[in-house]
């Protein structure tokens, strides 16, 4: 652990005063074991209170602080200074409207999430006990249950940048989570939704999404599994 000077270069935009975004640099002193989020806090709390970003849990489970960090989509609370270096460039995630500094409008993202029926659908009466599920069936969709809806995947997708109608990787991940859950009965409905023009066929397997996911979800693989389920009519 050692004190280091970090240069934060932040892309800033204030809709109440700015016509267009501009860059601002902050030099802050932090421990090299601190998170990038800690460095942002030092800048906000000691230098410029107008610096604006979302955050909550600060350890990678709430998904609030996705941003473009040195060119790649990351959660600021999961990146350690000594790993990323002392020159750090921060921009808002791409493909969603910027509201202020690093804060973007998440509503289009959540609307796409809602469009894939992201909840268990099973109309049979389970009775008093739990529905049984084998460990193998449970493992089938384990990877996609990890999603925290941070939007790092969707906003790393070059197709999504060019076409905001595309439902995007995160919505497909959340559809996958139910399509491959043995307890669910609405796989067909979800596959129909994802077979539309705005669905999985927009994906060009750039793998940006898998690389961006802070939870290590194999996003591209999940998308491919959904594509195969549509093509071969099986889950």
């Amino acid at each position: 652990m050692a004190k280091v000077q970090v240069e934060l270069k932040v892309k800033r935009y204030n809709p109440e005063t700015d016509k267009k975004p501009h860059w601002q640099e902050f030099t802050v002193e932090v421990e090299d074991t601190d998170r990038v989020l800690d460095a942002l806090h030092v800048a906000k709390w000691t230098q410029d209170g107008t610096l604006t970003f979302r955050r909550s849990c600060a350890h990678g489970v709430c998904g609030s602080d996705a941003m473009v960090l040195n060119g790649a989509n990351r959660l600021a609370c999961l990146e350690i200074i000594k790993d990323v270096g002392t020159k750090i460039t921060l921009e808002p995630i791409r493909g969603l409207p910027v509201i202020k500094d690093l804060v973007v409008d998440m509503e289009p993202f959540f609307a796409q999430y809602r469009s894939v029926l992201p909840y268990l659908i099973n109309t049979s009466d389970p009775g008093y006990t739990e529905r049984y599920q084998s460990a193998e069936d449970r493992a089938r969709f384990d990877d996609t249950t990890k999603c925290i809806l941070c939007a790092a995947c969707t906003t790393s997708c070059p197709i999504y940048w060019g076409n905001s109608q595309y439902v995007g990787p995160a919505a497909i991940v959340n559809a996958h989570r139910f399509i491959f859950d043995s307890r669910d009965q609405a796989a067909e409905q979800r596959l129909d939704i994802l077979n539309q023009r705005s669905g999985v066929w927009k994906c060009r397997t750039a793998f940006n999404c898998s690389e961006a996911c802070p939870r290590g979800i194999k996003v591209t693989q999940a998308i491919e599994e959904v594509k195969r389920a549509i093509l071969y009519d099986r889950v």
Partner: protein
């Protein structure tokens, strides 16, 4: 400042586990607005790890009555026993219901919900640890939060995302509305409503070393406290034994449930000395004190000898990957340590408020020591105090609390609004909020909220943590009052309307100060040691004088006064707490 007006049958404030479960209950029954300062899936329920206890007996013999006994003993007999009985009985239904909602629990070989051991949960009244915690790897809270949110999406629940409630309005002694600040625009929204359920979570950000999110600032309890609602049992704040060294990030008790061991500088399994029967799976208050004692007596590890080790190195690597994937990844990320081959430096971390807004078993808020209900006011989850956790919450019982009492509170509120009219709301109820915002924006004061918050957190961690004395608490109280005075000259840099977190952080800090003051005053008065509240100058439990709940009330002049109400007993008489 623009002001908008809405009217709803019911309002839920907060969208973690308790708020979402309540929203599921009111959906389709009454027009409900869920107002949340964070997108629901950002709530800190998602950070809960280890599990949710219910005596399903899927893996070994168990009964809800044993669960009840453990909860009462774990809470050091400050638990209201009828309330805890409801929680432990309804736990079974609550877990089954979550499974039906789609929650992906880990499974037994037969396909049932799997269960594992957890601190303080025992077979047959303390004989040995029992497998009672239903879980989903070490991300059970994440799964609960996601599942409840999914069910809210299915029911088209009406969310006001990133709206922060800053005040409540009463008319003739009943709830009439809340005043919310829209972070995206800076506009105020007045919600005229018959009933409000607060589910705003904890306030662990009054401490420096804390497992809590930055946003856990006690807004719900804080604003109610200012409006004269008492806060119950504030001196009981849980310090979780195993936070990542310095950062305080939670490492679940499930690590010890899976076989992890605490060790000191000589590699000794020191919990054998403190809890010979259940060892590392003793309740959190006892383990946290054991760790602090090891540190204070010079047996800590590391450069400053201010930590101990959590050792997982003897566990099979595949068990770690399958059962504890997230917490071991935190250790790799933040400490650069591989937990499969090296022990993890940990220290106690501020974790959970047992105290909060006093409620009965239907989530109705209580205004005094007589059980008087405030019409239309409800609370559930960590911000509430039923009291099912007493002086020390058992691990997993918080996830249980939020689903059981979130549901009960939501149901009671939905019933209540059927039988009452929308109260008239006086003009200008938003005036106080508006004045606070205008003042902060106009103030050119030299004090910065960030610096004052750090000062508060350091002081609370130094003087109102695992071990307390009259002297340490008196000193902390002086500091907090000085900080409150300094707060009057806080100036903010951001004078704008759009996403002004500079402003909302300053507003949140004022709640933290008030709740810290209530915590200290309550702790100073309680001259005994019980559960998480330990006084070096009064090191034993004093049942003759202290089988009672504290109610801290804030006067109009800002002074704090205390009153007490008896613990509601039941089948279990207080006995010595040995594990």
């Amino acid at each position: 400042m623009n002001v908008h007006h809405h009217s709803y049958d019911a309002v839920i404030v907060g969208a973690g586990g308790a708020g979402l479960r309540a929203a599921i209950e009111t959906a389709g029954k009454c027009r409900t607005a869920v107002i949340t300062k964070l997108y629901p899936t950002r709530s800190h329920t998602g950070a809960a790890q280890g599990g949710m206890c219910a005596a399903l007996a899927n893996v070994e013999e168990d009964s809800w009555e044993w669960h009840l006994f453990d909860t009462i003993k774990g809470g050091d007999y400050l638990v209201d026993q009828p309330a805890a009985e409801i929680m432990c009985r309804e736990a079974i239904d609550a877990v089954i219901e979550l499974e039906h909602f789609g929650l992906p629990f880990n499974r037994t070989p037969e396909g049932k919900i799997d269960q594992r051991r957890f601190g303080g949960h025992t077979r047959n009244h303390g004989e040995a640890p029992v497998m009672r915690a239903c879980y989903s790897a070490d991300r059970t809270g994440h799964m609960i939060l996601q599942t409840l949110f999914q069910q809210c999406v299915a029911r088209d629940v009406n969310f006001f995302n990133e709206y922060q409630v800053l005040d409540i309005a009463f008319e003739d002694g009943r709830v009439a509305g809340v005043i919310a600040y829209d972070q995206a625009t800076g506009d105020l929204h007045v919600f005229n409503t018959k009933a409000v359920l607060f589910a705003t979570g904890g306030f662990g950000k009054m401490f420096q070393v804390s497992s809590n999110a930055h946003t856990l600032t006690g807004d719900g309890p804080g604003l109610l406290y200012r409006r004269g609602i008492p806060m119950q049992d504030m001196e009981f704040f849980q310090f979780h034994p195993t936070g990542i060294y310095k950062l305080g990030i939670l490492l679940s008790e499930a690590a010890r449930g899976e076989g992890g061991i605490l060790r000191n500088d000589s590699n000794e399994r020191f919990m054998e000395r403190y809890a010979p029967t259940v060892k590392d799976l003793a309740p959190r208050d006892m383990v946290a004190r054991a760790i602090q004692t090891e540190i204070l007596e010079g047996r800590g590890i590391g450069e400053n000898k201010d930590a101990v080790y959590l050792d997982l190195t003897h566990l099979p690597p595949e068990q770690i990957d399958a059962k504890l994937p997230d917490i071991t990844e935190f250790v790799r990320t933040y400490l650069g340590i591989e937990p499969k081959t090296a022990p993890i430096p940990i220290q106690p971390t501020a974790h959970y408020a047992m105290g909060g807004i006093p409620t009965n078993i239907d989530g109705e808020c209580i205004s005094d020591d007589q059980g008087t209900v405030i019409p239309g006011l409800y609370a559930a989850g960590e911000c509430a105090c039923v009291s099912v956790h007493g002086a020390n919450r058992l691990g997993t019982n918080s996830l249980l609390d939020i689903v059981v009492f979130g549901k009960r509170g939501g149901r009671a509120m939905a019933d209540f609004v059927q039988s009452t009219d929308l109260p008239a709301l006086s003009k200008g109820v938003e005036g106080d909020v508006k004045a606070r915002i205008d003042l902060l924006k106009a103030n050119s004061g030299k004090e910065k909220a960030g610096a004052l918050r750090i000062a508060l957190q350091e002081e609370m961690t130094k003087k109102a943590f695992v071990f307390r004395t009259d002297e340490s608490l008196a000193s902390a109280l002086r500091t907090v009052r000085d900080l409150q005075t300094a707060y009057e000259s806080v100036g903010i840099d951001d004078k704008g309307n759009v996403f002004n977190y500079d402003l909302t952080e300053a507003l949140e800090l004022s709640y933290l100060f008030d709740l810290a003051e209530a915590t200290i005053v309550s702790a100073q008065a309680r001259t005994e040691s019980r559960g998480a509240h330990f006084r070096n100058d009064h090191p034993t439990r004093d049942d003759a004088n202290w089988m009672k709940h504290t109610l801290a009330r804030r006067g109009a002049d800002g002074s704090v006064s205390l009153s007490y109400k008896p613990v509601v007993g039941g089948a279990y008489e207080p006995m010595e707490r040995k594990y």
